[in-house]
Structures are given as structure tokens and as C-alpha cells.
């Protein structure tokens, strides 16, 4: 499952997209028209563009943010993100999008022998730091990572971004064991992290 979650969240203000397709222009002419207002006689409702774009993988969407301003607003909107997530989860009946294989130090592991649809160098942020990371949970395509220094990160492999979560380690005993939980709160539409550990003092 791919999660398209972007940092900026702008609401879609544009109601219609300008696709003035009844006046096809040649390649040369279209360059001349660039950045000029173009005569429009047909409008495509946001609804239709949403239906088409929501069927695209995250990589295409990140690229198509630069097609048109209204596409950018649409793709960045939380409503679109949710719709895209629901489609990508439901359209993937064989669950091939549902797992991430974690390979850091085992290059001998032959990924082709497992049911891998796509192999990507995710270039995760701590790859070259020498600090080991553990996956502590995943929901809606987001992954909760914890490193040896007990720093917590929320990683979105589909957009290749991560966010460091508030530091909790100072509140815990240095040698204490910790257990983590990561889940989605449907009622508040929010992601929650739970840390069980022994407190200082």
C-alpha cells in the first residue's frame, strides 16, 4: 500500500481544470502559448481529474504536481490522499504492495526469490549513519522506525520522507526495555504511538 502523504496540505480551491482540448495546437504553437491565458471552451470537473489521478502511483503524482497549479493543490489535499490510499489498498487484492522487505546489511539475500514486485533503493535517511534501525510497526503505508538511541521516526517510503517524533528517551531509564505500538486512530484521523517502558525515578 502506498501512502501519499505530503508535508504541505493545501486545500483544492480550483473547481475546474482547464483542458481546452477542442483547440489542439501544434507543438510550436503550444510553446508560444505558454504562460498566456488560453481560450477555454471545455471544463473538466475536479471529480473526473480526481478519479483519474487517484489511480496513479505515488511517483507519478509527485511528478504531476508540476503539470498545473490545480493538479498540485488537488494532489496535496488531505481528501485526495485519503481517497488515493483507499483505492490503492482495495485495488491490490494480492497484497503485493503491503510489505516492505528490509535489507540493510544482508546483500546476499536474493530478493528475486521472494514475491517481490518492485525493488527500490529507498535511500532511507539513516542508511549510512551506522545506527541500526528496527521497524516497530506499520499502518497505511507508514512505518514506525526506532534506532539504537531510542529515537522514533515515522517514515513514508512511498514519498521517501521521514519525520522525527518527539524525544521520549530522557523520561526512561537508560537500560530499561521498551515496547512500541503504532496505529491509526480512525475517530480523530490521526496516527498514534505508544511507548511502554520503565520511567526514571
Amino acid at each position: 500500500m502506498e501512502k501519499l502523504e505530503l508535508e504541505e496540505q493545501t486545500s483544492s480551491e480550483t473547481e475546474f481544470f482547464d483542458l481546452s482540448r477542442k483547440h489542439p495546437v501544434s507543438d510550436e504553437a503550444s510553446h508560444q502559448h505558454l504562460n498566456q491565458s488560453h481560450p477555454t471552451n471545455l471544463y473538466w470537473p475536479t471529480e473526473i481529474v480526481t478519479e483519474i489521478l487517484s489511480r496513479l502511483p505515488v511517483k507519478s503524482l509527485l511528478r504531476f504536481k508540476s503539470v498545473l497549479k490545480s493538479w498540485s493543490s488537488l494532489i496535496c489535499s488531505p481528501e485526495f490522499t485519503k481517497y488515493h490510499l483507499s483505492l490503492s489498498a482495495n485495488n491490490n487484492k494480492d497484497y503485493t504492495n503491503h510489505s516492505v522487505l528490509w535489507r540493510i546489511a544482508q546483500p546476499e539475500l536474493n530478493l528475486e526469490e521472494s514475491l517481490v514486485m518492485e525493488e527500490t533503493n529507498l535511500d532511507y535517511h539513516m542508511k549510512n549513519s551506522g545506527i541500526a534501525c528496527v521497524i516497530e510497526g506499520s499502518v497505511n503505508g507508514l512505518i514506525c522506525l526506532v534506532n539504537e538511541a531510542k529515537e522514533l521516526f515515522r517514515w513514508n517510503p512511498a514519498v521517501r520522507k521521514y519525520k522525527k517524533l518527539p524525544d521520549f528517551s530522557t523520561k526512561l531509564k537508560d537500560d530499561g526495555q521498551c515496547t512500541f505500538g503504532f496505529g491509526y486512530d480512525d475517530i480523530h484521523d490521526d496516527y498514534k504511538y505508544i511507548v511502554f517502558g520503565e520511567c526514571r525515578g
Partner: protein, 159 residues
């Protein structure tokens, strides 16, 4: 039989079993509003012919699995969406208006498949979109995820 009228005043007779795949027309029939001709002011005859062709083929879709016609239907669908952008968008608009879920799904997926690996320039040209972003805005989007603009799959051709 149900009579449909396109916006260029052409009438088409369609079997009720086929036409009720359109939620909109199904509701009209159930409400008793479809006694004579149903005017479709948003759809031209060329597009309506395509839509009716789809409805007739998918008339007994539920039974297709039992009778082994699933492959036949799949092949029909593949051929059906083999059309230009203008025609595809007309069919999508009609499917949306008539509320034919499966047809909407098929055409939007086809549109998405065509766009998936295209470069930004190719998408703009294919859909006749005039860029309204400044160079700075465009660069900012590229800088945010440069990897999304790179890769051997990215196709700059327009077709």
C-alpha cells in the same frame, strides 16, 4: 425497451436490462419517469453509441464468470478503451453523468495507465494543458522529490 435521445436529436432503443447499468436511468425507471424518450442533453450521438455498445456487451456481467465469457469480456474492454484522448474523455463524462460505475472505472484506469510513466511535458501536450506555474514554482516541486522526475521508465513521447 428504453428510448434514449442524444443532444443532437438522435434516438436509440436499448434493452432495459442493459440500460439499468446506469444508476441514473435505473432510478428514473423506478420512479416512473422514463415512460417515453429519455433526453440526454450532455451526450452526443457518437459518444452515446459507444456507451450503448458497452452496456449491451456487459448486459449479463454477473453471469460471465459462470459461462466462461470472462476472457471475452476482458478482451472487449481492452479493445473498447483503445480510443483517442478526446473520445475517452467524452465517454468518461458520459459515464459519470449516467452513473455507470464499471465504465467509469474502466475508462479512468485506462487514462491513468496512459499517463503513469509520462513526463510532465508529455502530459501537458497530451491533454492540451497550458502550464500556469512559474519557473520557480516548478523548480520547487522538482526539488521536493527530484527522484520522481528521474528513471528509465519516464516517457517523453506523446501518444
Amino acid at each position: 425497451m428504453v428510448k434514449l435521445k442524444s443532444n443532437d436529436d438522435k434516438e436509440f432503443e436499448v434493452e432495459e436490462a442493459a440500460v439499468i447499468q446506469s444508476e441514473m436511468i435505473k432510478n428514473m425507471i423506478e420512479d416512473g419517469c422514463a415512460t417515453s424518450v429519455i433526453p440526454l442533453p450532455n451526450i452526443d450521438s457518437k459518444t452515446l453509441i459507444k456507451v450503448i455498445e458497452y452496456l449491451n456487451k456487459h448486459i449479463n456481467m454477473g453471469k460471465a464468470a459462470e459461462t466462461g465469457e470472462e476472457d471475452d469480456l476482458k478482451e472487449f474492454d481492452e479493445q473498447f478503451v483503445n480510443m483517442g484522448w478526446e473520445e475517452l474523455f467524452d465517454v468518461i463524462m458520459a459515464a459519470n453523468y449516467l452513473n455507470i460505475h464499471e465504465l467509469m472505472e474502466l475508462c479512468c484506469q485506462s487514462a491513468a495507465d496512459r499517463l503513469k510513466n509520462k513526463s510532465v511535458r508529455a502530459v501537458r501536450e497530451m491533454l492540451k494543458i497550458t502550464n500556469d506555474l512559474t519557473e520557480e514554482e516548478e523548480q520547487e516541486i522538482i526539488n521536493d522529490a527530484p527522484w520522481a522526475f528521474e528513471g528509465p521508465e519516464i516517457d517523453d513521447t506523446v501518444n
